[in-house]
Symmetry: C3
Subunit: 346 residues, 3 copies
């Protein structure tokens, strides 16, 4: 679809500088602008790109004053980045949603399917499962027995949801996501480990998005719960009986061991590890690769890791084990030195 | 199914305190007890829950003495937790096993399928593959050419097993597991990397369980071997030509580089990394996120990068925060000492 | 197929020592040699195996001089390991390639399929997709709308490629790989996070190999690019708008956050984490579990990791490199102080 600067400006309450009839049909980053694309300038660091971008329209903040002539048509708005996000969302919504149940999908007779549902080829909806209105299920995805998926949700291809789980409304699960696999519970015996059956389930509340190949294990008893609005990136491990608070965001490859309780509005960076049975408060921020082995109160920020030049690193590692002795020795030195100075007044 | 306290007590050689005719049909954690549920009390920290749990039956250790009246019927046993695990296992076994080969599965003519097998829709059993008696293969799972799977094994949906691998008896592979992908072997040339073909395979022995989205790569030559009774959690990397000893347990997101040999009965925590070509002894324990770059003898417990003996590590961590003060103090000492020496010429 | 020592020696310009008519039909590691197998000796550490290996033929370097009689036939070559890799490649190429489109695959009418293509059962080629000549697509793999895959590429079972992506020639994607899932982009609001639509794509250039369950996210706008000859191991995260330079190699479970630019010929070890918006130069080497939070110039080699509390952490990091000096200084101080005390008896 094509839009004129005029149409867009009207929609975003923007002020046009330049040709109101310029049309665009796509989006681009300002440094990769092409004719027919709309882009934005928000970060001043990128300001220099605006003078030679090939984009046809650039969203700018109202206070932007060009220092040279600008070829592109400008649309001045209160917040260029937010306005772009708004337009991107509109663009996405304008795409036709897929509908219809493929004859090549297997839907159990006992499954209940809502209206306006899409079920792609080779998807399997197992016995007793429920799929809410307007939910889209891509090819090769499996929905286990008695699992319930709400309305307006989106399961991409190759998603696997085990039996008896509950997925809310407007939930997005990306390819390779596994929901409801057994929690990791085994009881040692002299001969080997006995499996502790995991008879609980997983509850994913509304408006959750879960990235590719992320795993959320089912509870031993009760439920592993991912609360409303949580966003999980790719390749994350959420273990059995964990509870992730509303609107918490977790970056790729982080892992949360079993029976941990994480608060709301936390921001967890990539490759963080959190031990089991801990309580992480609300609005906790954890830096990349942090390793958390004790509970954290509300509002705390902890940080991650840093590389050394390799030789230096080995030297440091070598001394590391001596740190406690060094600390004792320092304090001893300080004491003896004070003695000495007492005996040798300057 | 419903069971009375009487039936359960008889089965677990327990002693009933309360109404022998109370019935239960499900399980619950003591803090989430509901009428009709059986629960257990093992950890004294949870003792206070027993006085107002809604559960109908609570398994307790024989020495448990209530300090207040308890609504629920108690069953006293030698070990409440073990007894619960036993009942959970019974409950799982009581579930009907799935049987039959879906007409929507593709089974190659040259494949050999045992008796009482379940093969779900859109599963593919490729040429020359063998599936043992009583094995269950869920939808959208792929078993490659000439791969052999033993008896009583369970492959959940979306599992991928490459050609020429051997999977034992009573093995469980969770969704997204990949067995037998090529090991990561490339030879550098001035133009780029040449692939070193990986013509070996993977051998998974009996009673192994492998978690969701975990990968076990095939060997360059010979076999990558996961021995009897090993339990792997989710998102783990086992590289080519690794050998994991019997009854070793590895937690989520750990990785073992190529040609490493790990002993039996090891306990490896989450996000541990182990370099290639190392030998890890028997009964080695590694703490979370440990980075192992040298071999470890039998029985060691280590954690941290360049793992320390565990006590040493905690001591180091305790002093680490004082490093900046130590550095200031050192420089102060040096200065004062120089003063002193000036005033006390040797 | 069987080959004589004579045929192999002729092919690799080798010199035979022993029975030129010995035949082999498989490969083995020297310590696991069996009759009918060819193996190689390159690393002197393994030299002792040659005297009792059961292998029929051993490739050795020209300068190898046995210290005892050797049962096996030797073929002397300039580089035994490279020669083996060459033979392995030949062996792989000799395997029959799979061809034909399974009647159990779904290929959209609007998709374009090249010649000599293999498409396995339950694979789905969605609307407008293009599959180049000689490309093989295994069962249960999904190729999204308008995605283009080049010639001679290999997608194993259970691969998921989203819409509008570009995959080059001779690319290998292992099972569970996810290409083109949404980048992790959300804008916070007081009520929760708003999704920032990810309308870009992923470009995978020629001769790339991507390991099992690795994820490459699509760009917000523009493209996430994996350049020619890159090799990615298993369970790796490549985030939106990343660019990975030609011939860079990344080991398992490493992760690169969004909008990072990595140079050519880098070697990134396992479980490394790289923060977003960084620039990593050419020929950079990063050791296992390194955490990178600032850009790195060409040619650097770095490693290391260590967790800490937020401000304190930066202070600690600043002093860390001085640890070895501090340790030396402490010992010097102790010595000088003892001198002083000797001269100033209390």
């Amino acid at each position: 679809m094509e839009f004129t600067a005029q149409q867009i400006a009207a929609f975003v309450q923007g002020e046009i500088v330049g040709d109101a009839l310029t049309t665009v049909h796509t989006f681009a980053k300002i440094e990769e602008g092409v004719p027919g694309a709309i882009t934005f300038l928000s970060n001043p660091k990128y300001a220099h790109y605006i003078y030679d971008t090939q984009a046809s329209i650039v969203l700018v903040n109202r206070d932007f004053k060009p220092e040279q002539p600008v070829k592109a048509t400008l649309i001045k708005v209160d917040n260029a980045y937010e306005t772009l996000a708004k337009l991107l969302a509109l663009y996405e919504q304008s795409k036709p949603r897929r509908k219809g149940i493929s004859p090549m999908a297997v839907v159990a007779d006992s499954a209940q399917i809502g209206s306006d549902v899409f079920i792609g080829p080779y998807a399997v909806i197992d016995e007793g499962a429920m799929i809410g209105d307007g939910t889209q299920i891509y090819p090769n995805t499996y929905v286990g027995q008695n699992t319930r998926i709400g309305e307006g949700s989106l399961l991409y291809s190759g998603v696997n949801v085990y039996h008896d789980c509950k997925i809310g409304n407007r939930v997005t699960l990306h390819s390779g996501v596994v929901i409801g696999a057994d929690g990791f519970g085994f009881a040692p015996t002299p001969q080997g480990y006995n499996k502790i059956p995991q008879i609980g389930n997983v509850i994913i509340e509304d408006d959750v998005e879960i990235g590719a190949n992320t795993c959320v294990d089912r509870a031993t008893m009760g439920s592993t719960i991912v609360h409303k609005g949580v966003k999980l990136d790719n390749l994350i491990q959420i273990a059995h009986n964990d509870e992730i608070g509303a609107n918490t965001v977790i970056a790729a490859q982080a892992g949360v061991a079993g029976s941990a309780k994480m608060g709301e509005w936390c921001v967890i960076a990539g490759q963080v590890g959190i031990s089991g049975h801990l309580t992480i408060g609300n609005r906790v921020t954890l830096g990349p690769q942090s390793g958390v082995i004790s509970s954290i109160p509300d509002g705390k920020t902890m940080m991650g890791t840093l590389p050394f030049e390799d030789k230096g690193w080995f030297k440091v590692q070598a001394v590391m084990k001596k740190l406690p002795d060094m600390y004792r020795e320092l304090n001893a030195l300080r004491k003896e030195l004070n003695e000495l100075k007492k005996d040798n007044p300057q």
